[in-house]
Symmetry: D2
Subunit: 124 residues, 4 copies
C-alpha cells in the first residue's frame, strides 16, 4: 500500500516557477493572492481542467467565489491572464502566457539597463 | 547579447511546487501570503541565501519588514518553517522541511480514508 | 523580437526528473539510452503526442527507427513502459507510470533496510 | 514510518530538463550517454558535490571509471562542461552553463530562420 501511495505521489504533476517570477512579481504589479490565483489556474490546467470555474478555484483558496470572479476578471483586464477560444466552440481555456510575456519583457529591460550601466562605467 | 540573456535566463534556478501543495495548503491551514512567504524563503535558499532577513524578504513581497518578521515567527511557531543551526556557530538556515512533512501526513491520511471507504463499499 | 523569443522559451514545457531516478536507474536495471528513451516518450506526451512513432522518436535520438522499435518493445516487456488504450478505440498512449512504481518500490526497500540496520545497531 | 519516507522523498532535489534539450541535444552534437553524464554531474551539484570524481559518477552509471574520465574530458574539450576554480584554491566545480549557452544559441538561430522564412513567404 505504501508503494502505491508513493507512486501515486510521483505520478502527480508538478508546477514549475521560475525563480525570477518570485523575485519580480511585485515589480510587475502583482499581489501575493494574484500570483497564487495564477498558479492555481495553471495547476488546474496541468490536471486537465482548462477552464476552472470560480467555485472550483475558491474551493482551494482562502477566497470566496465572488472574490475569485473579480480577481480573475482583474487579471484578464490587466493582461496577466488570457482566455482563448478552443477549436470546439463554447470551450474556453485560461492561459498564463501573458504573464510570461510580461516577465520576459521585464527581464530584458533589466538586462539592457545593466548592459548600459556597464558601458557607462567602462567609458568613464 | 540576446544569446547571453537567454542563457542567463536558463542558468537561473527554478522553484518546484507539487501540484498537491496548491490543492491542499488551505486544508493544512495556510493563507496565500504564507505560502508565498515560504516559497520566497525557499527561493532565497536556492539562490545561496540560507537565512534571508525580513528586510530582504520584504523587498520582494507586498509586505512591510514588520509583517515579514511576524509572519516568519508565526510560520515557525505553527510548524511550517524550521530554523536550523549551521555547523559554523552563529550561522542559521531556514528550512521548509516541516511543510513537506505536513503535506506528506495529509496525503497519507487522505489515502487511508480513500482505501477505507473503498473497503466499506466492497463489503456492502 | 527578443522578447518574443524569451517568452516562447518560457512557454515550453519542462521535464522533471527526481534526483533519485538519476542515482538509481542503474540499480533498477536501466541503461543510459533506455532512460533517455523514456524521457523522450514523456516529453512527447508533454508536447501533446501521446503515442509517438519510432520514426518520431528516432528523429530526436542517435538511434535508428529499428533500434527505437526494439527498445520500446523491450521497455514494455520489462515493465518500465506501459501502453494504455484510450477511451476512443484505436488511440493508444504511452505511460511511464510503471517506471515510477519501480522507483517507489526501490526507494521503500532501501528505506526499510536502512531502518532495520539502525535498529540492529541500537540493539547491540 | 510511511510519512517519514514520503517526506524524505519530497525533500529530495529535482533535476529540471527543458523540453528543448531533449528535442535538440542530437542537433547540437550530443550522444545519449553524454546527456546522461551531464545530468549526473548536475545532480551531484544539486546534492552538494560540486566536483564528483569519475569513480563517484561511475557508481551511478553503466560506465567504467575510465569511460567517465574520458567522457568528462571530451565534454570539457567540446565546450559542454566547464571546470571553474572556487574561491578557495584547490576547490573546483563543474558547471553545465556552457551546455545552456549552446542550447540558447541553437534556439535563437532556429527562431531567426523561422522569422526569415515567414518574411519571405509574406513578401511573395
Amino acid at each position: 500500500m505504501t508503494m502505491k501511495n508513493l507512486s501515486e505521489w510521483m505520478n502527480q504533476p508538478t508546477v514549475i516557477i521560475p525563480s525570477y517570477l518570485l523575485s519580480n512579481y511585485k515589480d510587475i504589479g502583482l499581489m501575493e493572492q494574484e500570483v497564487m490565483l495564477l498558479l492555481q489556474v495553471h495547476n488546474f490546467n496541468l490536471n486537465g481542467k482548462a477552464f476552472p470555474t470560480p467555485a472550483e478555484i475558491s474551493s482551494v483558496m482562502n477566497l470566496t467565489e465572488m472574490d475569485c470572479t473579480m480577481l480573475l476578471r482583474k487579471l484578464v483586464q490587466s493582461g496577466f491572464l488570457e482566455i482563448t477560444e478552443d477549436e470546439k466552440p463554447g470551450f474556453e481555456t485560461y492561459s498564463i502566457k501573458p504573464l510570461n510575456e510580461k516577465l520576459a519583457y521585464h527581464f530584458l529591460k533589466e538586462a539592457k539597463q545593466a548592459d548600459f550601466q556597464e558601458k557607462v562605467q567602462k567609458s568613464e
